[in-house]
C-alpha cells in the first residue's frame, strides 16, 4: 500500500522538477527577499540571527501555502483530482505527495538561507540551534499546508495565487517576519497574536532566545487548534465537493 504513496510522492516531485518555471521562483523568492531586506537593507542591524529566523519562517511557509493551494486548485478545476479520486489510489497518497514536495522545497530554502546567513551575515549558532530551528520550521509547515489545501479546495486555479499572496504577505509582515516588532507600532503585535505565523515564529525565536517571552504551550496550543479547525473545514469542504 505504501508503494502507492511512494510512487505518488516520487511523481509529484518529478512533475515539479520538470517545471523549473515554478520551482526556481518559489525557491529564489525567499532567498532574494532575505538577502535584500534581512541582510543588505536590514531594518535591524545588529540582529543577524533574528533576521535569519524571521526570514526562514517566511521562507518555509511559502511553499507549504503555494504548493498545496495552487496544485490542488488546478487539479480540482481541471478534473484531475476527480479522476485521481476515482482511481484506486487513496486520497492520503495524493496529500502525502503534495506534503513531501512542499517539505522538499522547504528543506532547500532553509539550506540556502542558512548558508547565506552564515556566509554573508555572520550568523553563528550552535549545531543544536541550527538543527532544532530546521526541525521546528519544517514541522511548523503543517498548519500552513492545511491552510493551502483549504484555499485550493475553495478558490479557482486563477484566483488562488492572488488570494494566497493576500493572506501570506500581510500575515508575514504583521507577525514581524520582515521587520522586527521593536520598530513596529505596539498594536501590530496585538494583531499578530491572532496569526499562525506569529506563533510559529515565536517557537523558532525561542531557539535563539529572542522570542517575546510567551509560554511554549500558548504557541503550540494555537498551532494545534488552528490545524484542527482547518482539518474540520477541509473535511466539510471535501464532503461538499463529493456531492
Amino acid at each position: 500500500m505504501f508503494a502507492i504513496h511512494q510512487a505518488e510522492a516520487k511523481y509529484d516531485l518529478l512533475s515539479l522538477w520538470r517545471t523549473p518555471g515554478f520551482y526556481l521562483p518559489a525557491i529564489l523568492f525567499p532567498v532574494v527577499f532575505y538577502y535584500f531586506f534581512g541582510v543588505v537593507f536590514s531594518f535591524s542591524s545588529g540582529a543577524a540571527p533574528q533576521m535569519l529566523v524571521a526570514y526562514s519562517c517566511f521562507g518555509v511557509i511559502g511553499p507549504a501555502l503555494f504548493n498545496f493551494s495552487v496544485a490542488v486548485a488546478s487539479d480540482r478545476v481541471h478534473g484531475w483530482m476527480a479522476l485521481k479520486r476515482l482511481s484506486p489510489m487513496p486520497l492520503s497518497a495524493y496529500m502525502l505527495a503534495k506534503y513531501v514536495s512542499s517539505t522538499v522545497f522547504a528543506v532547500v530554502i532553509l539550506a540556502l538561507l542558512f548558508t547565506l546567513s552564515a556566509v554573508v551575515a555572520d550568523v553563528n549558532l550552535w549545531t543544536w540551534q541550527w538543527a532544532s530551528l530546521a526541525l521546528i520550521l519544517l514541522a511548523g509547515t503543517l498548519p500552513f499546508a492545511l491552510l493551502g489545501l483549504l484555499l485550493g479546495l475553495v478558490c479557482s486555479d486563477k484566483s488562488v495565487p492572488g488570494v494566497v499572496n493576500l493572506i501570506y504577505l500581510p500575515m508575514a509582515f504583521l507577525s514581524g517576519l520582515w521587520v522586527p516588532f521593536t520598530i513596529l507600532p505596539d498594536y501590530v503585535q496585538r494583531i499578530a497574536e491572532f496569526l499562525p505565523t506569529y506563533h510559529l515564529s515565536q517557537l523558532a525565536f525561542k531557539i535563539i532566545d529572542a522570542d517575546q517571552g510567551q509560554p511554549v504551550w500558548l504557541h503550540l496550543g494555537y498551532l494545534v487548534a488552528f490545524s484542527l479547525v482547518l482539518g474540520l473545514l477541509i473535511r466539510w469542504r471535501f464532503s461538499l465537493l463529493q456531492k
Binding site: G46, A47, Q50, V107, L125, I183
Partner: protein, 421 residues
Amino acid sequence: MKVKLVLLIILIAIIAGLFLLPEPEEQPTASQNTFALGPVNVFNGTEVLPLSYVIVIDGVITGIQPRPPGGEVIDGKNAWLLPGLIDAHVHVWGDALERQLAHGVTTVIDMFGHPSTLQKEKELRDQFQISRSATMYGAGYLVTGPKGHGTQFGIQVPVMNGAEDAKRVVAERIDSGSDFIKAVYTSPTAVYEHAPSISLEELEAVIRAGHERDQLVVVHVSDHQSALDAVQAGADGLVHSFFDKVASDQLLSEIKQRDTFVIPTLTFYEGMLRGTSTETLLLNNPEFEISAQAKQSLSMKIPGQFPEHFFTNLISSTTRMHEAGIRLLVGTDAPNPNTAHGWSIVVEMSLFAEAGIPAQQILTAATAATANAFGIADRGMIASGYRADFILLERNPLEDLTALQQPQAVYKNGFKVGRER
C-alpha cells in the same frame, strides 16, 4: 532499493550540512567560577596594585593578596588584570551584548531602547551563571516631546506633554524597568537643525520628578547652551558633549559645583567632524577580523561638511573638563555611525588620550567611575566582594591603550568566556 539509498544519502548530506554551519566561539563548560589566578598586575579600577593573586569563589572576588594561596593556582604569567570595561553609552539590540562581552566590555549602559530588552536583561543581572553577554543597565524609553529626538527611529516612543506631565512620565519609566531617566533636551537658542524638544521648564520638571523618586536623571544635549541649561536644571549627567564652542568657564564651574558627570561620546562626533580614528585604529588593522555587520556601522558616515574647528572645540572642551576635575565617562554611542559594539571603546579611550587625559584616569573612566556614577555596586572594580567580571591583557594598558583591543581572556561571573576570534 535505489530510492532508499538516494534518500539516505540526501539525509546524511543534510545532517552533515548542519554540522558544517558555523558555531559561536567555544564557551567554557567544565571550567569553574572558583579559582585563584596569579601572579598578575592588577589595575583595580582606580590604581595599580603590586603583583597579586586574585581569589574568586562562585564568581565573586574574595581576596587579592601578594602571596600565592594554597591549592591550585592558574598561572597569571604577570599579565594585566583589569575590571571588565563599562561602556557608558550604547543602544542595545540584536546581539550587541554578546559582541560587547567578546571585547571585554562586561557591562553596558543603554541610553534608549525598547523596555522589553531591558526587562529581560534585568532578570539576568543578579545571577552567577555562565553568560556570553555583557550585563545591561538602561534608560528604557527616553523622555522626549512630541516628534522629538528619539521618535525618528521607528520605535514608538511615548512622549511628554507639558511640565505637569513629568511625574506621570517618570512613574511610567520606573514601572517599565528604567534604571535611570534619560531626557532629551535642546535649547530654543540652538541654531542647528534639530527635532522639536521639550522646554526648559519641562526638563526641570522631569529632573525634579526623577529626583523625588530617587532616580538618576541624565540628559542628552548636543550644544553648549543646552548643556548649560541641563546642568543648571540639575541633571546628574550629560550623555553627550558638544562642539559648537569650547566649554565656557561658567559651564565648567557649574558642572564642577554640581558634580555632574559627562559622557562626551567623542567617537560618534569624531566620525562626523574628522573621521580618521576608526580607520586608523580598527578598519586598517589587518589583524582584526571585523564582522561585516560591525564594518557597516564603523564605516557609516553622517553626511555633511563641518568647519575644522568643531573637532578642536570638542577636544578642547574635553581637556578643559578634565583639567577642571569634572567626571568624564567612556561611552561610545554604539552602534551609531563610526562605532560598533565592543570595537569602539578603545577608539573612545584613544580620543580621551588625545584630549590629554592620562591613561590611568581613562581606565577609571571606563570602569570604576562609570559604575560609581550609575550606582552599580558590585562591578567596575577588582576588590573583595566585587563580581569577577574582568579582563586579562598581555601588555600594560597604562603604557598603551591598544593593549585593550584583544584581551587575552575575558571573565564574566568568574567564568572564562574566551576572546573573539
